[in-house]
Symmetry: C2
Subunit: 198 residues, 2 copies
DNA sequence: CTCATTAAGAGGCATTGTGTTCCTTATCGA
DNA sequence: TCGATAAGGAACACAATGCCTCTTAATGAG
């Protein structure tokens, strides 16, 4: 018989996806509040109203725990594909939205936490990267249809250059890119490269 | 009177730059051997043959300690400015050498460790970034002299695009870039952008 | 519905590393 | 030569780890 204290609540227990989501939410909150260095299993467990053992069973190391939380953040905030009617508008919009999204935070965290064991950072980002490629391909296709560029058949490296440079800036500065940075990426690099006729 | 054990060595004490270099060497060795998570003041102190207090006096947090070690690595391996006689050769050489240098490791570590307190990551890289800008400017100047490009007066963003994309790849993949990656950066992005007449 | 299986959540425990303080004495600069 | 500085050694309480056991909700198979 359990020692019923003041209340007689039958001690509800979460399981499966519900529990896991709560754990990662707590981990993310702690991560953002305390930073990686001061992140502790104890604080996460307390915030999630559970025991450390529950966390250890799923994520044996602090790095894996933090990474799982960051990944959840990363792909729970997908960036929509813009369609503004012009190539320049589309790319500016894409970068600006990505820049303001919570996904940016996820990117920074994932990049900081890096890879664990056999899984490389590129692997972790694979799904996101694939979506981005498709987005740019779609944007370029519409631009070709409008006659803004001679061809949408652009080398991969050139096609992705805008997002790559934006990502570079975000990772290096550890903060959002400024509107000026975004404009320069688009006007000084991306548009000239795809043969945009301004 | 000190309890002289078997030896009568008068307990030599290092100071200043000599000591500091030894501390950072030990920190870097531990960092590379154990990784950031398992880096401890105790292990660094032991390796450097000193006490933890000496470390704490200089770097109050593990992050600052690791960052100092990474920064030392970063700017103790400067990349020379190439002069191969052609624009393409110069840029390929620049990226390839940077890619193989120990400085790449420093870059990865610094990016992972991020900024501490008021100092931003960009600030930490400022000296290196400046050197890189000058290098690219010099390379472009020689290319203009040779008539390989119409003008060396290129927007900053375009001028730095090769190193930025290389850095992007290194930070994202957490490993050296492949020769193919480097070639694509140069041939599909950088050279077209500066108006190279191949 | 019943019962065996799974795992949540609570607690305990030895161990490690932290962060700090105190002390001595080697080293350096005036 | 002497006083200020700080290296290096030691000890301390404390926080968190990593691992363990135990009870008992929750679940799914029959």
């Amino acid at each position: 018989m359990p020692l019923n204290e003041t209340s007689a609540t039958p001690a509800r227990r979460r399981r499966g996806a519900e529990l896991e989501a709560a754990l990662l939410d707590a981990a993310l909150a702690e991560l953002l509040a305390s930073g990686y260095d001061d992140l502790t299993y104890e604080a996460v467990a307390e915030r999630a109203q559970t025991s450390r053992a529950v966390l250890y069973r799923r994520w044996p190391t602090k790095r894996e725990l933090a990474l799982a939380a960051a990944l959840q953040l990363l792909d729970s905030h997908p960036v929509p594909t813009p369609d503004t009617g012009s190539l320049r508008g589309d790319v500016l919009e894409l970068l600006t939205v990505a820049n303001g999204s919570r996904a940016r935070l996820g990117l920074q965290l994932v990049a900081q936490l890096g890879s664990t064991g056999g899984v490389s950072l590129a692997d972790l980002r694979r799904p996101v990267a694939r979506r981005n490629e498709e987005r740019m391909t779609a944007i370029l296709g519409r631009a070709e249809d409008r006659g803004e560029i001679p061809t949408a058949d652009v080398p991969r490296r050139a096609r992705d250059v805008a997002l790559d440079l934006w990502r570079h800036d975000v990772l290096l500065h550890r903060s959002a890119a400024s509107p000026q940075q975004i404009e320069q990426i688009v006007d000084d690099v991306f548009l000239p490269l795809v043969g945009y006729r301004g």
